[in-house]
């Protein structure tokens, strides 16, 4: 057993373990080595600790180091789980993708799907706009009308006036209700002829008359009624 002297026994336990395991700074190493060469107590302590440390080192080398590393098997494998939906499947594919090529392919698929969805949404919107436009009531005399419809409306007025003039002349020539009815028919036929090839907003509907045309039309109807009443 070791004999403890009455003199001061220096304690360099921290330096001893640090030195043995090579975790000592260069400066501290130099100081400790210098001290070790001169201090019997620290030399003996160093020998004791080195001996014990070497025993553990040998044990590790002889019994532990030759052991093969055990294979760890986890019963639950993430790749065996089936994805629930399309998005989960794509996410699983990206997660498990082992190469850049796979990741790129996944991204391309996603991009393609997004573009197709956008295209479908856009086409739906366009058809809605078309349907909406077709339901609008057609107007002829309104000053806010487009250039095409304004042009057609003015043409229709001109046609009706000329028809009315002819009708009056006809009446003067022929007399009677027939002439008036004929005027109306001419006016409608002319308007129909003028409206063929017009924008879809004006198709299939009779033109709306302005106040002057309305008065003229009323007077012609009145004349018809009077004729009919008179026989």
């Amino acid at each position: 057993m070791e004999k403890e002297s009455d003199k001061y026994i220096c304690n360099h336990s921290d330096e001893i373990v640090a030195y043995i395991y090579g975790e000592i700074s260069e400066n501290d190493r130099r100081i400790f080595e210098s001290h070790l060469g001169a201090c019997t107590n620290c030399t003996d302590e160093f020998a004791i600790v080195s001996d014990a440390r070497f025993s553990v080192f040998e044990w590790r080398k002889e019994e532990f180091a030759p052991l093969p590393t055990p294979e760890i098997s986890i019963p639950f494998h993430a790749s065996s789980v089936r994805p629930i939906g399309v998005f989960a499947a794509v996410a699983a594919m990206i997660r498990n993708a082992g190469s850049m090529a796979q990741v790129s392919a996944s991204l391309l698929l996603i991009s393609g799907a997004v573009l197709i969805a956008i295209a479908v949404v856009n086409s739906n919107r366009t058809s809605e706009i078309v349907r909406g436009q077709s339901e609008l009531p057609p107007t002829v005399a309104s000053p806010i009308q487009s250039d095409a419809s304004t042009l057609i409306a003015s043409d229709l007025k001109a046609v009706e006036r000329s028809s009315a003039d002819r009708a009056v002349k006809e009446t003067l020539r022929n007399g009677g209700a027939t002439g008036r009815s004929y005027v109306r028919k001419i006016a409608v036929r002319s308007s129909k002829a003028q409206t063929s090839g017009t924008p879809s907003t004006l198709m299939g509907k009779a033109p709306v008359l302005n106040s002057f045309e309305e008065k003229e039309d009323r007077s012609l109807r009145l004349a018809d009624l009077l004729d009919e009443a008179g026989g």
Binding site: Y19, T40, S50, D51
Partner: protein
């Protein structure tokens, strides 16, 4: 023949009468001096060379042993100085570690063969003892030894993992190794 003598008696005998008595000193202290050199140098082959040099130096200086210190301390001192010399040599000439094959003739005694059946048996018994001794250590001390020796963690890493101050980690390791040495000393291994 010399097994019943103390170390000091053997050295006196070797100085006065029989140089071969020193062989018993070598047999008794071979492994411990080797362990000390391993602690100083960190490499097995360097430690082996240093240990042999230390015993050669001790044999050559037998006459200077005055008996005022223990033989073990005397041997420790010689071994430490040999290691420091080797380190200085390594630092100044990194590639000049010469295998002193010619020195074989000057050696009066030869260290026991490492691969002899006796050494292998001794090694097996020692491993069992070490395993039992480490297992018998208190948990906080065993933990530090395992983390340092098996997981090869630095003191700082152990400190961070166990949330202990650095000095506490070093102190625990020092205490653990001292206790381990005491347990191993209580059960000496007999070489057949």
């Amino acid at each position: 023949m010399f097994t019943d003598l103390t170390d000091e008696e053997i050295v006196n005998l070797a100085v006065r009468e029989d140089a071969n008595a020193f062989g018993e000193i070598v047999r008794r202290w071979d492994r411990k001096i080797f362990a000390l050199c391993f602690g100083m140098l960190g490499r097995e082959d360097d430690a082996r060379d240093a240990a042999q040099e230390a015993f050669i130096a001790a044999y050559r200086n037998l006459a200077s042993f005055r008996g005022d210190a223990r033989v073990s301390s005397w041997l420790h001192r010689i071994a430490v100085n040999q290691c420091l010399t080797m380190k200085r040599r390594q630092r100044s000439r990194a590639e000049d570690l010469i295998d002193d094959e010619n020195g074989e003739e000057d050696r009066v005694f030869i260290a026991p063969l490492l691969n002899s059946p006796a050494r292998r048996t001794e090694m097996k018994e020692r491993m069992t003892l070490v395993r039992q001794a480490v297992t018998a250590l208190p948990t906080d001390l065993r933990q530090v030894i395992v983390m340092k020796e098996f997981e090869e963690m630095t003191f700082q890493e152990i400190s961070d993992t166990l949330e202990l101050p650095l000095s506490t980690v070093k102190s625990r390791l020092y205490t653990a190794l001292k206790q381990l040495r005491m347990k191993l000393e209580r059960t000496p291994i007999e070489v057949v």
